[in-house]
Each structure stands twice: as C-alpha cells, then as structure tokens.
Symmetry: C2
Subunit: 406 residues, 2 copies
C-alpha cells in the first residue's frame, strides 16, 4: 500500500466528463489498495473568466480580492471531483487549501507556502477516504485566503507530497512526459524515462512548458521525486529526481527552441565603466526581464566603443525600445538595432559537466548545416545560442539528430 | 452615523454593471457617514449552473460537497463587489460566511445559524471599511462549509443585523416593497408603508414571493426591523416590524392568489374514525406537503360516508394520486377527483382579530361577482378560499376593490 499524491491540471478537469475520467483513474489506484490525495486545478477557462469579470470592474483589482475570487475556481473542481468519486462508490471528501492545512505568507496572488499541517488529510486517509485538495491556494495564519500564483497547483501537490511523506507524486498533464525535444519540431524526439531536477529547471526556464520552475525548485529542496505523465492515457511518464551517477552518462538530455525572444543591440557604446550597468538598471526599473547579454569586443575606434546585445521577451520589446531611447544622450551609443526574428536554441544536460567539447560539437553541427550563431550564453549544464528565427527549427533538428537520436 | 446592513439578491448583482450600481448606492450611504455591511447573493444564474454541473456527475450529490460547490457563488460576488467599491475609491473588504463569524449547525444544504461572532466585522467597520459578506453560507464549529438553503442570504443579513445591533436592515430586491396585491393582477395595488411580521409571514406562505418565511421568523424572534426595497430605484420600501396598535385600524393588509395548487377530493370516504389520519399519514410519508384540508358533511348514505378534499402543490399532484390509489382498498373511498384548475385566494391582516364580519364580507363580495367558493380555510389573521382558476384574477380584483382600494 502506497500513499500517492496526484495532481490534475485544468485541461484534465475541463468538464464533467473529464472529471469522471480522473475519478475512474483515481478509483483504479485505490482498488490496488493505495491511499490517494488528489490535487486539482480550476477547470480550464474558469480562472480566465474570473479574471475577465474582475477587469470589467477595474483594470488593477486589489490582490486580496483577486485571491478571494480566484480561489473559487479550485473549490468548484474539488467538490465536483469528490462527487465523481462518490458516483463510483468510492468514499471521498474535498478540502480547500485552508482545510488541508496549507499555510502561506500574506503576499496575495503569489503567496509562498510557509507550512503544511497535514493532520486533517492524514485522518481522512486513515478513515478510508480519497482526499481531494484544492490546488493553487492556501490561507494565512490570520485566516486570509491566498493563491500561489502561476503553476501553484503543481506546488500544492509537491508540497503536500513532502508534508505527507508520500511514496509517489504524479503530475498529470496533457503531455506524456518530458521529451528530448518538442515532438512537433523534432519528429524523432523521445520521451525521457528520467531527468534531474537541475535539467528540468533549465528546460522549464528555456520554454519547455511542462512545469513552472518554482515547483521543481521546491521538489529539489525537499527531495520529492515526482512523475510527469498524461491524464489521457496509461503510459508511464518521466521521473524527475536528484541527479544520479548514471545520468552523467548522457551528455545532453534535451534541446529546446524559444521563439518568444527579441534581440536588441546598442551600436557604439562608449567603452567606459558603468555603461552596461546604467542600461540594465533602467530596464530593470521598467520591469523588463533581460535574458541573454553579450558584449562584443571593442571596435578599433577612437574613443573605444563596443556593441552591446541582449534579449528580452517579444512582448516587452516596445517598452524596452522606449527605455533605451531615453538613455541615448546619457549613455551616448550610436545606434539601436532590434531583431524580433530570432530563436534561442538550447541544449541541457548534467553530463556536460564531465564531458568536454560539447559546445564545440554544437557549434560545428550548426556550422555544417549553414546556420550562423548570433549570440552565445552558457551555464554549467546548458548552452544557448541565438540563431535566425527562420533557421530555428532546422537547427533544432540538426542538434537533435547529432546528440539525441539513437 | 448609523450602522446599516444591506442585502442584495442575485438579480441586483447579475453582472458587473449591476454590481457597479450596488457599489454606487453603498458609496452614497457611506458618504452620509453611515457604516455599511453589505450581504450579497450569487450572481443570478450562477447557483443554477453549479447545480447543473453537479447533476451531470450524479443525480443526488452528497450534500457536504454541494455546500462546498455552491458556496463559491457568493464568494465570487463578494470579491467583485469589494473591487467595485475600490473602483469608487471606497475602502472595502470581502468576508466569506466563515470569516464573518457565522457559525451554523452541520445540516448541509439547509444549515441553521447557531451563533454569530461579529468581532472581525466590527473591527473592519471601525477601521473605516465597508464590509462585504457572502450571504447564504456559514461554517460549522469543525470548519466545514455549510449553506443555509433557500432565502439564505436574507437570513444572513437579518442575523448579522441582529448580532451587530444594526440601526437598519435593508433587503434590496427587484420589487419596490410589499404590495396590497400583485400589481400585475390588480393595477390599483398600493405599496404598503409598513407591515407586521405576522402579516408578512402569512403573505410569504401564501405565494407572495418577496421573502422566505424563515428570514421573517428570524427577524420576528430577534426583533430586527427591516425594509424591503428595490435596488433599481430610490423609492422607500416597506418596513417590516412588530405589530403596532395603529396597524389594527387596517382590516386587511393584502390579498394574494396562489395558482400553484391542485385539489384532490376523495368521494364517499367511510365515516369511521382514523380514515383521515390514514390518508394524511400516507401523504406525509411520501413527503407530499398538504395545504388546505376540508372534510365535507356526511352524505345521507348508509353506511355513512363523507367527501374529503385537500390541496397539494401542482408539482406533487401525480405523486399524491399514486399514494391515494394505493390506499383505495384499505380506506374504501368510492372515487377520486383531481382538479388542477384552481386558485387559492387569501386575505391577510392583523386587523381581522378585532373586526368581525370580514369573512362574511369577503364571501359576499365573491358571490356578487358570480364566483363560487369551493373550499374555505381560516386562521386568526388570514382567510383563504379556493375558487375556479379561470375566475381567480377577477376574484382578486373584486376583493382588492372592496377591501384595499382607497
């Protein structure tokens, strides 16, 4: 008998038919004798409808009231899911985040879980019930309803698994697991049987939209092993866990292509200390997230000047241009170029640490395929390059073929 | 400075535009210096949609889970209403029933309020906020979410007014107040300036759908004076309060027509003790609510037999027929007649107690208008008669003209 925490996202509980499917799956596990805690999100579309109602009233609604509003989405799903268990003759009871003992800080709309008191959940499990818990929400010690922000339901599941010392945590979603590449881009992409937290974190931040980074970070911090798998079939998913020796044998775990970035280049920035700091401080003040930064070597000009390139989210490009234009006289660069037609290609793998020459092999593969590299950025387990957007998919396929095809 | 509890029903908060109107009204009171507690229902249609979702999953959902589900309706409205106050620059905070200190028993879907601890509400009012409270819901001492059943939001408002010792309780609805008759039936119907709890109770139970009886009973028990008025205009409404001397000067307060009843007559019931008891016990066992009962005089037959007539809700007629058919051999009546084409006309007024001859005048008025009376039932402050449905409206107008036109 195992204690299993399962989490089902919005598309898995999109309507009453899907909720019934979830209930049938849970009932199947229970029949094997397992104890089940089921974390559910709001039915897909519900959170957006609630946000739309709020925006009809005011553009920037009070965050405490947003939490009061949004928490109803998951509360609706838990009640319906419990009913669907009952319809199968399985005892089940729903709990709000507060009732499940999830205590958070008071930072509304992006609260942090401070503490979980799983007494009620344990008692209900021991009494033979399946326990259905509202994802994405908690309560402050003062009794205020809070929500955990994007990806909050995954976080609820992983935090509950940690607090309950669960044997297994399963994150059900609409994909089969974590792949070596997006199968729509690389037809020979393979599902990974396992991946380390760090690799998963790099993939999450690189645009592989399986899970939010914070849930993976939380799992890493508390050593919660979890499985990402599909609610639409019975295929085994991908196990996410601490790095093992055997993982190092695999040089790279996956390749991603992020098409949501744009590149800005400042031409002829005077080569004086503090110029880059000035630029990125102004962007940060404008709440613009900068991803890659490359400062090219100084031109042979007098006075010395350099070119400074960086990438931002496409959605922030206009705002970033405005900020930069405001700096022109102060920083004294010669020109600004903006390029939306870029793709950021990244390879990730803990095996890189012990395998020299991975970068060289990546660059060589791209060169052999006639793909020019515009920017390069690396970390211990990741290499990212910016390429022309039109060549992004070809680049991804070439890299996948070189590193990941069997 | 007065402490005012206002309650807005589902149609008053049907969409964000209506919610803005509610907020504007509340802001107006607050500008006068009043302290405001605002109780809101679910937006109209929301509760029905939630029930529909539940029924898609199972026909008779668990009642604890129904409460978990339905409580989201009011929680949505309080958040949106608080935002609408903010949009007008008025500090406001929303509270669920539990947060407002409303403790109920554990009878899910029709919980009774046991106790209100208005500490949080008082503190927020003293801090200068308008307090928006979710109607229709509470929490058991064990932390289970409960709902109060039909008319529950009115009950929340009246109970909060009692607990807070409010100066005024206003029930905003889509009618202007309590009328001498339904204005759609009697064009010269007048709005009443005041009415006693007992008269209001008789009117509520007679099909004047302004408020549920239990809220009026609660107000009577705790001496909460309240006003029923429209959220669509600024007209004063009807004050509901304890009977005063001056009320006795008015013989009848109003006339109602209930078209939702059906009449069943058992012909030739053997005139033996216990026969009526047997019939009504069987109907009660079938959860069929019987309203009027008339046993006609014994026919001059051998053995002696009587006719027994009673009324039930039209919706229960088929079920009642089945119950009665099952009793035929045991009770031994000769025949059963059912008549759906009836109307129950009632006059209500505390003045009847001290004014003889009201019934005679009512019957005479109907006779003069060629309207036959099929059944009669009276209480201390009410006289009801059953007439042919087709003549119901004419009967109501004749009675209104005789007793209530000025």
């Amino acid at each position: 008998m195992a204690l299993i925490v399962q989490k089902y996202g919005g598309t898995s509980v999109a309507n009453t038919e899907r909720i019934r499917h979830v209930a049938a799956r849970v009932a199947g596990y229970r029949q094997r004798g397992d104890q089940l805690v089921v974390v559910v999100s709001a039915m897909s579309g519900v959170t957006d409808s609630l946000i739309k109602l709020a925006k009809e009233i005011m553009p920037l609604p009070n965050e405490r009231e947003m939490d009061m509003l949004l928490a109803t989405g998951e509360q609706t799903t838990i009640a319906l899911t419990a009913m669907a268990m009952h319809a199968l003759g399985v005892p089940a009871i729903s709990l709000t985040g507060a009732q499940a003992g999830i205590t958070t800080d008071g930072v509304h709309t992006k609260a942090k879980i401070m503490n979980i008191t799983p007494k009620a959940v344990h008692e209900l499990l021991d009494g033979g019930s399946v326990v259905i818990v509202a994802g994405f929400q908690g309560q402050t010690p003062q009794g205020q309803i809070t929500t955990l922000g994007r990806g909050g339901s995954d976080l609820t599941a992983i935090a509950l698994a940690a607090a309950l010392k669960a044997d297994l945590c399963q994150i059900y979603t609409d994909v089969d697991g974590v792949y070596t590449a997006d199968p729509r881009l690389a037809p020979d992409a393979r599902k990974l049987a396992e991946i380390s937290y760090d690799e998963m974190l790099e993939l999450a931040s690189l645009g592989a939209k399986v899970m939010q980074s914070r849930s993976v970070e939380f799992a890493k911090k508390f050593g919660v092993v979890f499985e990402v798998r599909s609610s639409l079939n019975d295929n085994p998913g991908t196990i996410v866990k601490e790095e093992t020796k055997s993982m190092e044998g695999v040089v790279i775990r996956g390749v991603t292509l992020d098409r949501n970035q744009a590149k800005i280049t400042l031409i002829g920035v005077p080569d004086r200390p503090g110029m880059a700091a000035r630029v990125f401080k102004a962007l940060a003040d404008g709440a613009i997230n900068v991803d890659m930064i490359v400062q090219n070597i100084s031109h042979g000009t007098q006075p010395p000047a350099t070119d400074l390139s960086f990438t931002v989210d496409k959605a922030d490009l206009l705002k970033a241009r405005k900020v930069i234009d405001g700096l022109r006289s102060e920083v004294g660069f010669r020109d600004v170029l903006a390029d939306e037609k870029i793709g950021k290609l990244s390879i990730v793998g803990v095996g890189m640490r012990s395998q020299p020459g991975v970068a060289a092999k990546m660059f060589d593969t791209l060169a052999q395929n006639g793909i020019n590299i515009e920017m390069i950025s690396t970390s211990e387990i990741k290499i990212s390059v910016v390429v022309e957007l039109a060549k992004g998919e070809a680049a991804l396929r070439a890299i996948h073929a070189e590193f990941l095809s069997k």
